[in-house]
């Protein structure tokens, strides 16, 4: 396998950044990691994952869809779309990499969302295998191997070297573009590291969480479960879980009057919010119970029902550590499960 020594990472980043925009997970002042545009001297974070998910690259929190100019009775529609620049996202974890395939199923389904596709087409996703998973990780539940992530290309660290593997043409092109920095390396130590990681993954507290009893076929049974009241009781109705989630993709479309035109923008929305389904004549989800139920039913039942059994969760664990009152999908699954 081709490899680069970890102490030459700077050179690698410089080389990538010379030809296209590069984003890497970097530590910010408060200690949390976030994706940042690479600039000389920036260090790769050694945190397990970024605080915000990587979905921002393809589905940003707000984006301008279209502009309007209003004059008298006339309306001008101004298409504001621009071809995205090419960019590389480096160091994506296995869970986030899988979230892209889930988002693809929504945004690339007919009719294709051109805003999303534009950015997706211009991106190269370089993933990084995990070596120190946390207690909140449960990607294995959804069939994800944290030691062998997807993505256009993947890299693996054995503590001294970073090994590269291409998964498709785009990934191969990426590796070719940096091949002058790479050399053939021995993977025996890497194999040990991966073996160890797999052992740890098996020992994690959520390793035995299973989706066997979830899916589209028990729709009404789960919907009518009497557990929802108790589970949603403490929910604050904030949008933390939805906004840190790599697969939550619901959005709102709003207009902003700038005083000299109208900007129509799309922004993340949360099914936890009271106005999510509110209409002029009423609201089918009046209490937090229904809103809370919607989120988990969507991930565990509706999504698999519409997508050949694929779940709408990747087990990244962000909602587990970020929910203000620690109510999360794992607790819901455990409380709800019908054998």
């Amino acid at each position: 396998m081709l490899k680069i020594s970890l102490d030459k990472l700077d050179k690698l980043f410089e080389a990538i950044a010379a030809s296209q925009t590069l984003y890497i997970p970097a530590d910010r002042e408060d200690g949390a990691a976030e994706y940042r545009k690479y600039e000389s001297g920036m260090k790769l974070s050694n945190k397990l994952n970024t605080l915000r998910s990587a979905k921002d690259f393809f589905f940003p929190q707000t984006e301008n869809l279209v502009d309007f100019k209003m004059e008298g009775k006339n309306i001008d529609v101004i298409d504001v779309r621009e071809e995205s620049e090419d960019f590389v996202i480096f160091g994506v974890r296995a869970c986030d990499a899988r979230s892209f395939t889930i988002l693809d199923k929504v945004f690339l389904a007919e009719p294709v969302d051109s805003y999303y596709k534009n950015r997706r087409d211009h991106s190269t996703v370089v993933t990084m295998a995990c070596t120190r998973p946390a207690e909140t990780c449960f990607c294995g539940t959804f069939g994800i191997d944290a030691s062998a992530p997807e993505g256009d290309a993947a890299c693996f660290s054995d503590g001294e070297n970073l090994f590269f593997e291409a998964h498709n043409e785009k990934g191969q092109k990426f590796i070719d573009s940096i091949s002058s920095l790479l050399e053939e390396g021995n993977t025996s130590k890497l194999d040990d590291v991966r073996e160890k990681t797999r052992d740890i993954l098996k020992k994690l507290p959520l390793a035995n969480l299973s989706t066997d009893n979830f899916g589209g076929d028990k729709l009404n049974e789960y919907f009518n479960s009497d557990k929802w009241g108790e589970l949603s009781e403490s929910c604050l109705g904030c949008g933390t879980c939805t906004f840190v989630c790599p697969t939550c993709q619901c959005y709102d479309i709003k207009d902003f009057n700038t005083g000299h035109g109208i900007k129509r923008f799309r922004c993340w929305d949360s099914c936890m919010y009271s106005d999510f389904t509110k209409m002029a004549h009423g609201n089918p989800r009046l209490t937090q119970l229904e809103r809370f139920r919607q989120r988990f039913m969507h991930k565990l039942v509706y999504f698999p029902a519409n997508n050949n059994g694929e779940f709408g969760c990747v087990g990244c664990g962000r909602c587990l550590s970020k929910c203000p009152i620690s109510m999360n999908i794992v607790k819901v699954m455990k409380a709800l499960e019908v054998k």
Binding site: F256, T258, G259, H260, K263
Partner: protein
């Protein structure tokens, strides 16, 4: 048309004026033919106390470079005590804006009675000058609203 890059910066000033004193004061300065800058856009409110902190922020969002709030002198409020509440509220708001690093000279409260046309004009002249020195509001503006 050629745009003169060096043209002097003309700030947009929003003045919230209470109906009973300050608006009448502004009126008086007009009837007395006193000059105050055209940069000042007056918004009449029933009482200075009507001004919600959000109004001040919205004015900045929509392109104001300075916001001034005028009301009756303390003790003279048409509604007895409205301006006393205004005073506390605006003190705290301005202090918070200052805390967030927004130039403190962009905001002001001034008491102007219906008889003080001259004071109104002088206040506006002076306030406009001081905002002019600060330059355009960049720290509390909404980029989407900026005129191209």
């Amino acid at each position: 048309m050629q745009v003169n890059e060096n043209k002097e910066f003309e700030p947009l000033i929003v003045a919230f004026c209470c109906n009973w004193c300050s608006y009448a004061g502004a009126d008086l300065s007009g009837t007395n033919r006193l000059n105050y800058p055209t940069n000042v856009k007056i918004i009449r409110v029933p009482c200075s106390c009507r001004v919600n902190p959000m109004f001040i922020l919205r004015a900045f969002q929509r392109g104001a470079d300075g916001v001034i709030l005028c009301g009756c002198h303390p003790g003279d409020c048409h509604y007895t005590s409205g301006n006393y509440f205004t005073r506390r509220r605006m003190t705290l708001l301005f202090s918070m804006l200052d805390f967030l690093g927004i130039e403190r000279d962009r905001t002001r409260v001034e008491w102007v009675s219906a008889a003080e046309g001259a004071k109104f004009a002088a206040t506006m002249n002076e306030f406009t000058e001081s905002v002019k020195k600060l330059g355009p509001n960049r720290r509390l503006e909404d980029l989407r609203c900026r005129k191209q």
